[in-house]
């Protein structure tokens, strides 16, 4: 279990007069074994921060530290920080089977040859609740939710010390997003996985994250435990975000436990 620390991180795109600052002096800690939610409107710099964390974009100033050491991309072997991407359509190579994609991320030093590799792929698929027999399937044969679970399996294959999940349910249908969210919670609980979970959906973040940070114009304007930030927001921007969320369908009890009353003999109202 590891701790990820953004130490006054600034990221800029472009150079000279046309440079824009996407992330502006962010200080943020993802404590070991926790899921930290990062919320903010589009363009607030969430994805940029995620990419900086794994070294896909260079930081302009400041440092990204994993257990006190810079997460500069190493020349050999998998990165200790892995990322799961937003778009299930482009996160897997369409011409490689699911098994090949996952196997690619398994560290070579594991040893044991082809049989061991197959076993490891099967273990990872089972971990994300996919049938190990699907290893031979191509991404085109899977639903968006299944593809996202393969992407999670691939990230886990690299034995990461931390996983960055960037809007991993935004492109999914509501009927399948639940399965992915359940999985994230389960992995955190059972494997003690440390996760930076990025989403613009507050209800989703509330469900998976133990802590929340709010990003606004590239700056962290508020952070704390989920209950604190969503329950007693201190920053105006957080309050406006919360106010914008559509009202819950039920205000008190979860729906699925209630035996349904036969009350609405709803004829098709026409006007």
């Amino acid at each position: 279990m590891s701790e990820l620390r953004f130490d006054d991180v600034t990221v800029r795109y472009g150079s000279g007069r046309r440079a824009t600052t996407a992330v502006d002096g962010v200080r943020l800690v993802v404590p070991p074994g926790q899921v930290v939610g990062l919320v903010g409107e589009s363009g607030s710099g969430k994805s940029t921060l995620a990419r900086a964390a794994v070294g896909l974009v260079p930081v302009h100033s400041g440092r990204v530290l994993l257990d006190g050491e810079p997460v500069a991309r190493r020349r050999r072997g998998p990165s200790p920080v892995q990322m799961v991407f937003q778009d299930p359509a482009s996160s897997l190579d369409p011409r490689m089977t699911v098994g090949e994609s996952i196997a690619e991320a398994v560290p070579h030093r594991t040893g044991g040859g082809a049989a061991a590799l197959r076993a490891e792929v099967a273990r990872l698929l089972t971990l994300v609740h996919l049938d190990p027999d699907r290893a031979g399937a191509y991404p085109g044969q899977l639903s968006g939710g299944q593809r996202q679970r393969v992407a999670i399996a691939r990230a886990l294959a690299a034995r990461p010390r931390l996983v960055v999940a960037d809007e991993i349910t935004s492109a999914l249908d509501v009927s399948i997003q639940g399965a992915v969210l359940n999985l994230v919670r389960e992995l955190q609980r059972d494997l003690g996985l440390t996760v930076l979970f990025i989403s613009h959906n507050l209800a989703v973040v509330r469900y998976v994250a133990t802590q929340v940070a709010v990003l606004h114009h590239g700056r962290v304007v508020e952070q704390g435990t989920t209950a604190q930030v969503l329950g007693e927001p201190r920053h105006d921007y957080t309050r406006s975000l919360l106010a914008a969320v559509p009202a819950p369908l039920t205000s008190t009890e979860p729906v699925s436990t209630e035996p349904v009353s036969t009350e609405p003999a709803s004829t098709r109202s026409t006007t």
Partner: protein, 680 residues
């Protein structure tokens, strides 16, 4: 979803097209000749016959003879091998150099890549033939020199193509993921990038080979290419040219060979290219193919079309009442069973009346019906929501209602009435059609998910809003613009006068969406159809747009058909909700009943699958096992049966009708033990 067809299995199918057949047929013939001709006739073509020098066409020598009495027909056939070998060698060189340059940015990193790109851009600017001549002079005459010349001259174009293709693949997430997994650059190139750009490269190389063949003929013809005693088609053409007026066949036969060979390569390339475009389209999966590919819509264009059609309208400004004659004349769509949609009922208040709406889309695998009999009504001023997962037919239903679907997509219905007017009427006079267009143009407003694609990027917002009003409402330029500014103000665009002079890209996403609603308000809409109007927006902006829609409704009793995959958005805004599954409405219920009163198992699952700010954190979210129905493959019986916890034998054989607001054999029932979590 159909299993992913492998490339080798699809290729022959491509070659079954006429173009593919012609191309590969010619190419096979060519290759056979190239292999066999030198073996069979190599010696005969060299045989000097001083008795038959410079003869014309005859029974012995079909194409005549040259100045040493050698048979020109045989020489043309034998020259096939050298001509092809040289063309293919040059193409291989062009592709190899092009690949090296084109993948440099991936292999060497961004900075070196930029230098190479700049170099390639300069080289591409020179005409290919000029480059070839330049290199031919540099490398000297002869076969090797001209292969180098033509190969290098073709390289910049390939480099550019590779750069574009590689950049497209390299920006995909799976390449970033491979990088994070520690895969080296060269392996990323070989494993992830090249296989995914291979198709278009092969196609272009094939077509390029045809071009190289022509270039060779050109160089040899100019005397810079193949030198005697060796001969290719260009050389034969040059020899024949001297006596073209006396004996045209001597030059025309090798010329014809060049043309046939060029055609063979080009046709084959074209056919394979078509095959690959099929490949990329169905890589997206059946559902998205339907939503994006095969269905052609008019969307942004629709307004202009209608505006143009209405230019001749004699309707007074603002007074576009539904004309009863339109409804009466158009009897084609309404069968005898369409009682609910008959005239008097329409007058009693339904803005929109739809019964048994079916949308059929032709696909390579036969016609598919993504909307399979949708029935609903929208009352005056009522807000009706449509929810369902992607591919359930929500958007197609909206487009069909707005008459925005074009052939080859077909729309049929028992009833399809808007403001009492029959939208399916076909036998209308020009004036009636105009009236119908005006009715749709002024009283039905559409708001799409991506407002950018609905506006013309090169015209000012104010002008675009004013355009429709000038035609439909017959306003003058000034008046139309004033109304546009007024409407922008009505949808809360700050400083509307200045904003009206701006272009769409100068508006933020939320502002464009509001402008789109403003566009709908230029007339006096009775119905706003909004298809995922807030999906591309974030929560705060979504709230503003939803509030605006609610406000517009409250002011003018405008009805709303709001499509969304998000149950909470629909519940927040609408009076009534239609739940769609596999192209049908499976439940029609008051929005207030969604939380606890839903009777269809799918509606219930949908509601409890979405986390909200009061979701119990100690329980897993409800999961709907399995996957959405592919419209090309709807199961027998209830389409939800494979995913339904209540499904029994009857469900799997008989498809339930929508009765009393729900289409289910077990409405409102619960399983003895409600599933805690279902693992898909």
């Amino acid at each position: 979803m159909p299993a992913r067809p492998s490339a080798p299995r699809r290729l022959p199918a491509v070659l079954r097209t006429p173009v593919g057949l012609a191309g590969t047929g010619l190419l096979t013939l060519l290759l056979t000749v190239a292999v066999l001709a030198p073996v069979l006739w190599g010696d005969a073509a060299e045989a000097i016959d001083t008795a038959a020098m410079l003869q014309g066409s005859s029974a012995d020598h079909w194409a005549g003879t040259d100045n040493l009495g050698r048979d020109l027909m045989l020489r043309t056939l034998v020259a096939t091998r050298l001509s092809l070998v040289l063309a293919l060698a040059a193409t291989a060189l062009a592709v190899a150099v092009g690949l090296l340059l084109g993948t440099a940015s991936l292999l060497l990193g961004a900075r070196a890549g930029r230098l190479v790109t700049a170099g390639v851009n300069i080289a591409v600017a020179f005409p290919g033939l000029l480059l070839a001549l330049f290199f031919a002079v540099v490398f000297g005459v002869g076969q090797v020199g001209s292969v180098l010349a033509i190969g290098l001259a073709g390289a910049p174009a390939f480099a550019r193509l590779c750069q574009t293709l590689v950049a497209g693949v390299a920006s995909r997430d799976y390449v970033a993921a491979a990088r994070l997994a520690g895969v080296g650059r060269l392996r990323i190139l070989l494993r992830h990038v090249l296989p995914n750009v291979g198709g278009p490269l092969v196609v272009n190389a094939t077509i390029g080979a045809g071009g190289a063949l022509l270039s060779f003929a050109g160089l040899s013809f100019l005397g810079l290419g193949v030198q005697a005693p060796a001969y290719d088609w260009g050389r034969l053409m040059q020899d024949g040219l001297n006596r073209i007026y006396l004996d045209p066949l001597a030059a025309l036969v090798p010329g014809l060979a060049v043309v046939v060979a060029g055609l063979a390569f080009n046709l084959t390339g074209e056919a394979v290219a078509r095959g690959f475009s099929i490949d990329t389209a169905d890589g997206l999966g059946g559902v998205s193919l339907l939503a994006g590919g095969a269905v052609r819509t008019r969307r942004g264009r629709a307004r202009r079309d209608r505006a143009a059609g209405a230019a001749a309208s004699r309707t007074a400004p603002g007074a576009v009442a539904p004309d009863p004659t339109v409804a009466d004349d158009g009897a084609s769509g309404a069968g005898p069973g369409g009682a609910s949609g008959a005239g008097p009922d329409g007058a009693s208040g339904a803005v929109l009346d739809v019964a048994d709406l079916v949308v059929t889309v032709p696909t390579p695998g036969g016609p598919v019906r993504p909307v399979r009999g949708v029935t609903f009504r929208v009352g005056r001023g009522e807000a009706v929501g449509v929810v369902g997962e992607s591919g359930s037919g929500k958007t197609l239903t909206a487009l069909a209602v707005a008459r925005l679907l074009e052939a080859p997509t077909t729309v049929t219905a028992r009833t399809l009435r808007f403001q009492g007017a029959d939208l399916l009427a076909t036998d209308l006079t020009a004036a009636q059609r105009t009236l119908l267009d005006t009715l749709l143009g002024t009283e039905l407003a559409m708001v799409f998910q991506d407002p950018m694609s609905s506006f013309n990027p090169v015209r000012r917002m104010g002008t675009q809003l004013a355009e429709g009003a000038r035609h439909h409402l017959r306003l003058g330029r000034r008046a139309a613009r004033e109304r546009a500014v007024d409407r922008l103000r009505a949808v809360r665009i700050p400083d509307p006068d200045r904003r009206a002079g701006q272009y769409p890209h100068e508006f933020s996403g939320g502002m464009r969406q509001r402008a789109m609603i403003g566009l709908g308000l230029m007339g006096s809409p009775a119905l706003i159809v909004a298809d995922e109007p807030t999906t591309a927006l974030d929560v705060t902006v979504q709230r503003q747009v939803l509030d605006l829609l609610a406000e517009v409704r409250a002011q003018d009793a405008v009805a709303l058909l709001l499509i969304s995959h998000d149950v909470s958005v629909v519940a927040d805004v609408c009076d009534r909700v239609l739940v769609m599954y596999a192209g049908r409405v499976v439940e029609d219920l008051p929005a207030a009943h969604l939380a606890t009163g839903a009777r269809h198992p799918y509606t219930r699952a949908l509601v409890s699958a979405v986390p909200h700010l009061a979701t119990d954190l100690d329980r897993p979210l409800t999961v709907i096992p399995g996957r959405p129905v592919d419209p090309a493959d709807v199961p027998a019986g209830c389409p939800f049966a494979p995913r339904c916890p209540l499904a029994d034998a009857r469900c799997r054989t008989e498809d339930p009708e929508l009765v009393d607001g729900v289409a289910c054999w077990h409405p409102g029932e619960r399983r003895p033990a409600e599933p805690a979590v279902v693992v898909a």
